[in-house]
Structures are given as C-alpha cells and as structure tokens.
Symmetry: C2
Subunit: 191 residues, 2 copies
DNA sequence: AGGGTTATTGATTGACGAGTCAATAAAGAA
DNA sequence: TTCTTTATTGACTCGTCAATCAATAACCCT
C-alpha cells in the first residue's frame, strides 16, 4: 500500500532501528536485514533509501550527534555561570533515554568505525572539537590551564561512558554525573 | 619440513600476528587468513592449533593481559609509598611498546568483544577488579573515599586510553601519564 | 484511461570467510 | 624398516550477507 512521501519516515525508522539493534546485539555484527526487519521493511528497501550499509550507519551516527548537540545547546541556554556551563555539558553527556544502553553501544561502535571510515572520523572529530570548545569556554575564567582541564574532563567523560557500556549495572546515570562533577570541582578549587 | 614441538612457537606467532593485524587494520574485521599469513602459515594450521577464531582471540587477549600484569607487578615492587603505588599503576597503564597503537587497538577491540563473548568478559572483569584493587590499596591511606577515587582514576585511564587510540598524535605517553597523575594529586590533596 | 513516478519485496547474485578434510611429509618409536 | 604421531597445506564446504534486479502495485497528473 504505497503512499507517497515515505522516504523521511523510512529513513527515520531505519536509523532508530539501527540504534536499537546495535544496542541489543551489543555488537558490531548487525546486518542490514536485521535492522530492516526491526524497522518493518525489507532489506531491499533499506538499500533503496540509503544506497549502502555504510551510508545508513553514517546517518545513524549523525542522528545521535544531532540529538546530543540539541541537548547540550538546551542545557547551555539555561546556564548562568561558567560552572553551570560545565555542569550542563556533563549532564547532557549522560542524560536521558538517548544516552543509555543502546545509544551508548552505538557510540562506542562508531568510535571504532572511525578508524576505517573517513566520514565517521570527520563526524567524531567534529563532536570532539565542539565538546572541547564548550568545556573551554566554561573553564577559561575558572582555572589557569583551561585546555588541560577540558582534556581531563573530556577524557573522564569518555572513560565513565565506556565503563557504563560494559557494566551498566555498576553505576547509575546520577552517580556518573556526580563522579565527573566532583572532578570538575577539584579542578576549579585548584584554580 | 615439520619439526616437532612447533605448537608453542606457532601459537605465539599467531597471537603476536593477531595484535599486529588488528592494530594495522584498526578494525575488528581481521580474518584468520590474514593473521595466519602474517604469522607465516596457512589458515588451516591456525585452526589446527586454536580450534576456532574466538579461541585465538581469547588467547591474544590473555597474552596482552599477562604482559600488562607483569609490568604492573614490576612497577609495584619498586613502590615505597602509597603515592608511588598509584603512580606505578598509572605508568604501567601507558608504558612501553606494548601499550601503543597496535596493542591499544586490540584492547579496545576486546572491550567490544566482551559484550558477546563470555570468556572475554570474564577476562576483562578480572583485569578491572585487579586494577581497582591495586588502586584501592594505594588510595586507602590517602583519601576519605578510596573506592570513589579508584573509580575516578580507573575511568580516567580508560578515557585517555580511548582517545589515544583515536588520535595517537594528539598526546604523547608522558603527557597522558602526567594528565592522570595530576588528577591523582588533586584527589590526594583533597584527602 | 494511461504514462510516469514512488514504494515495495522476493528472489538472486557474488563475494568472502570460518571451519573441515584428505593428503603429504618428516620425526621419533618399536 | 614400519608404525604412529605431529606438522602442514590446498582445496573444498557451507553459511552469511551486502547489494542488485525484476516484478508488482499504488499514487498523481493529464
């Protein structure tokens, strides 16, 4: 029962199914057929809209990055001080449905994918640069070496994230945020 | 020209070739044939000695973990104070040839593999527990919440490691060590 | 109604890769 | 020497999966 204007709907469904499938399988070995089935269509249709598996995964990562970017921007808009700016970024990094099991696994997947795919690498660098730049703005009025502080907190966020992918039960979202924020506070107190 | 007692030699060659191959490809998609060819034998022989690809990769991870464990033990033997214990662990985490490009990529690979392979997961948990326990011993006389401190430094190590896999040029080994140790110092000063 | 476009899929192709096997050869044991 | 064990490989099987294609159907416009 073909209706017109299906393209955006299908693409969206596929991207979301890809995240869910990667998260559930906890693995990189997700096939186009699995994703397509979960999205309620044939694999042929997936290829029809994305051309290739890689393009589909790139679109998936772009989607994750877009959501994350929106969340950061939203939180930053509320921030009234440098401290609050940093806190906003940390909270966004661990926030909401989006940043749980499925998304986290996908995220990690793309970290690896970035070693072989140019497009993925470019996307990831972009995210890194933005994160770093946002942290820097917050840290600059507060510490002597904002670059160093941003690097530390950025790495700490990645590390906590990585551990959450492996052992989701070991630490809750709030605990993760608290852990990172405590380190932020130490950095600030040190000046 | 079959000589006897080839088994340990072949196994060793395969394990080392696997690390090199994963590191060079920067990817999980390493075939048994590629690894075997690099190790100077046929893929059939690799199967003969390891039974399956998974067993071969488990042996590879075990090898990496063994090397790391030895390095940590060596450094700990020299430590004369709690501070030095912690420093020893951090230095070992980023030390030497072993912990560069190829090994780091393999390491990250196993993090993912752990989500699907029971054996790999067990190995990784063992490593985590030991690392945590070692850090705890160092932190206990120095800070109020040693568990929290160990968790923070453990995550920071993983995060810095992850970033080095992605952008090896961004930070040198020594810089990585310095970054982590600075955070250790902050934790200690805080008490 | 009929031509063009979009949506959709089952079936197929083509590649690649893990694991198996039968065959060859050398070393040691009897 | 002959038998057994170990080493070794090329060729093969079997499965899987990305990608393609041909066919079908609904929608829109004229």
């Amino acid at each position: 029962m073909p209706k017109l204007g299906m393209e955006p709907i299908r693409r969206d469904a596929l991207v979301k199914a890809a995240i869910a499938e990667i998260g559930e399988a906890g693995s990189l070995d997700v096939t186009v057929s699995q994703i397509a089935r979960r999205a309620g269509m044939s694999s042929a249709l997936a290829h029809h809209y994305f051309g290739s598996k890689e393009q589909m995964l790139v679109a998936t990562m772009r989607h994750i990055l877009t959501l994350f970017g929106a969340e950061v921007r939203g939180a930053l808009a509320m921030a009234r001080s440098p401290e609050e700016r940093i806190e906003a970024i940390v909270r966004a990094s661990f926030s909401s449905q989006n940043f749980r099991a499925a998304t986290a696994a996908s995220w990690l997947h793309f970290y690896l994918q970035a070693q072989t795919s140019d497009q993925t690498r470019r996307l990831l660098r972009l995210y890194h640069r933005r994160l770093r730049s946002n942290l820097m703005v917050g840290f600059t009025p507060l510490v002597a070496d904002p670059a160093r502080a941003s690097e530390t907190i950025g790495a700490l966020i990645d590390g906590v994230y990585l551990r959450q992918v492996l052992r989701p039960e070991a630490m809750s979202n709030e605990e993760a945020v608290a852990l990172v924020l405590a380190d932020v506070q130490r950095l600030i107190r040190e000046g």
